[in-house]
Amino acid sequence: MTAVDLGPAHAVLEDMAPVDHGHAIPLLQNIQESYGYLPREVLLELSSETGIPASHLFGLATFYAQFYLEEHGRHTVRVCRGTACHVRGRKIIQEAIDEELGIGPGETTEDRRFSLETVACVGTCFLAPVVMIDHDYFGNFDPKKVGEIIGGYE
């Protein structure tokens, strides 16, 4: 395993100081924002810097769906599995995207270009079915346009 640069972690800690137990979740969120995931070495460093037990940080990282302990793709494709999307054909969209990317939900493409996830609801039910890529919304998603839309992300 290649050594992880702890510089960005220290920058996050400095920016948020003082970090106490109550800020453990925002801390992990900021760390993930800068690394793209939560590297093991970084969690151990955070623990020794803040005094929050490493077991607690790993406990949070495995409880909340937002956190990844493995390296993630450059872009995240989120297929909404909310009710409105479910009744308006999410399944067909999921199949089209799985096929286009060659991976299933929870997986990352080999070139680390995309990670695929499902999400409980993105709160735009009136656009159902919805897919989000990073922070972009694609409503009334047409499974025929999967290739075109995915192609816009390098």
Binding site: P26, L60, A65, T83, H86, V87, R88, V119, T124
Partner: protein, 347 residues
């Protein structure tokens, strides 16, 4: 609906929070918003900065001697954190697991301090009530539920979007009036109300005036304010299975009735949609559902069986079709389709 309020009118929510905090002399407030709503997070943060600039937040607000700080926290992807005690645990930096009530958060909440938790829409109503008075607010609505309600109308309906109506408007007025009815004139089957732990309301109750009490009577809840319209191409058993699988996945795992019960309900419904269900399974769903409702620690488990119970109550015939006749009337459950029909579905 809450996303739209935070994105479109964040100051109404903030103002409601400031007024409410002043009323109870709270000095610290949190806005807990899902990370999946990035624009809402951005806009509420901007609104907080603007309020600070104008002296409406921070130390000594408008020279009153009262100080209040409001912090935005992004949810980290756990549905259970919508439950108030789980949300508090999350704010304290813990795994989002519910705590027994009582004590209620109003007595012992965030770090043991009295804490009031309200929904975004509730706070957004506060400035309006203060400005125009309670009587004006109570002019619309029903005996038990005053004011207006915003619904997120979606699903198999012509016009989708956010709909604000007086409490007591009927489902028919919303779905066929505002919503313009079903696409291709399909038949209305049910409207699912209140999110994953809500219930399915059938056509027989189309003229039901919606308020908190009436929804409870038909086995649904106001919940998230979601109104998902389903036509006759939706299989009600598949929908029940879909909801319970969501709650099973989102159960925090702390208490046994919810952790194990939701999975048992899911497995039973899986069997039924695969054509392997029996009549006893229907009884089992009902008795197990009741146990989970009555013995779970928090709101997630207590309401998780709602979709199963409400569909068993209103759509028993469709369950019987799956269990006895081994058919899926809506043509959704692939294991129960004749071979020719399965091929037709591929188009």
């Amino acid at each position: 609906m809450d996303r739209a309020l935070l994105e479109g009118d964040p100051h109404s929510v903030l103002e409601g929070m400031i007024i409410s905090a002043y009323a109870i002399e709270a000095t610290k407030g949190f806005i807990y918003v899902r990370a999946e709503y990035p624009i809402a997070v951005l806009h509420i943060r901007k609104a907080i900065d603007e309020a600070h600039e104008r002296g409406l937040l921070g130390d000594n607000i408008l020279g009153s001697g009262y100080s209040l700080d409001i912090e935005v926290r992004e949810g980290a992807g756990a549905f259970v954190c919508g439950e108030e005690t789980a949300m508090i645990a999350s704010l304290e930096g813990e795994r989002g697991m519910a705590r027994p009530k009582p004590p209620y958060p109003a007595v012992r909440g965030y770090h043991g301090e009295p804490t009031i938790i309200n929904n975004v829409e509730t706070f957004a109503n506060v400035p309006l009530i203060i400005e125009e008075g309670g009587a004006a607010f109570a002019e619309s609505g029903t005996e038990g539920s005053k004011g207006t309600k915003i619904f997120a109308l979606a699903g198999q309906v012509n016009n989708t979007g956010l709909v604000e109506v007086p409490m007591g408007a009927t489902i028919r007025e919303i779905v066929f009036g505002v919503g313009g009815g079903m696409p291709r004139n399909r038949e209305f089957k049910a409207v699912q109300m209140g999110g994953p732990s809500g219930g399915c309301v059938p056509a027989a109750h189309l003229d039901l005036p919606i308020d908190y009490d009436s929804l409870k009577e038909v086995g649904a809840i106001m919940g998230s304010g979601g109104m998902i319209v389903m036509d006759n191409t939706t299989c009600i058993v598949d929908i029940a299975r879909y909801f319970i699988s969501f709650c099973a996945e989102e159960s925090c795992g702390l208490c046994a009735p919810c952790r194990l019960g939701t999975v048992q309900l899911e497995e039973t419904l899986n069997r039924i949609t695969e054509g392997k269900g029996t009549l006893e399974d229907l009884d089992k769903l009902e008795s197990l559902g009741e146990v989970v409702q009555q013995t779970s620690l928090c709101g997630l488990g207590q309401t998780a069986p709602n979709p199963v119970m409400s569909t068993l109550r209103h759509f028993r015939d469709e369950y019987l079709a799956h269990v006895v006749d081994k058919t899926c009337p809506a043509g959704v459950c692939t294991a129960l389709l004749p071979v020719e029909a399965t091929v037709g579905k591929e188009k």
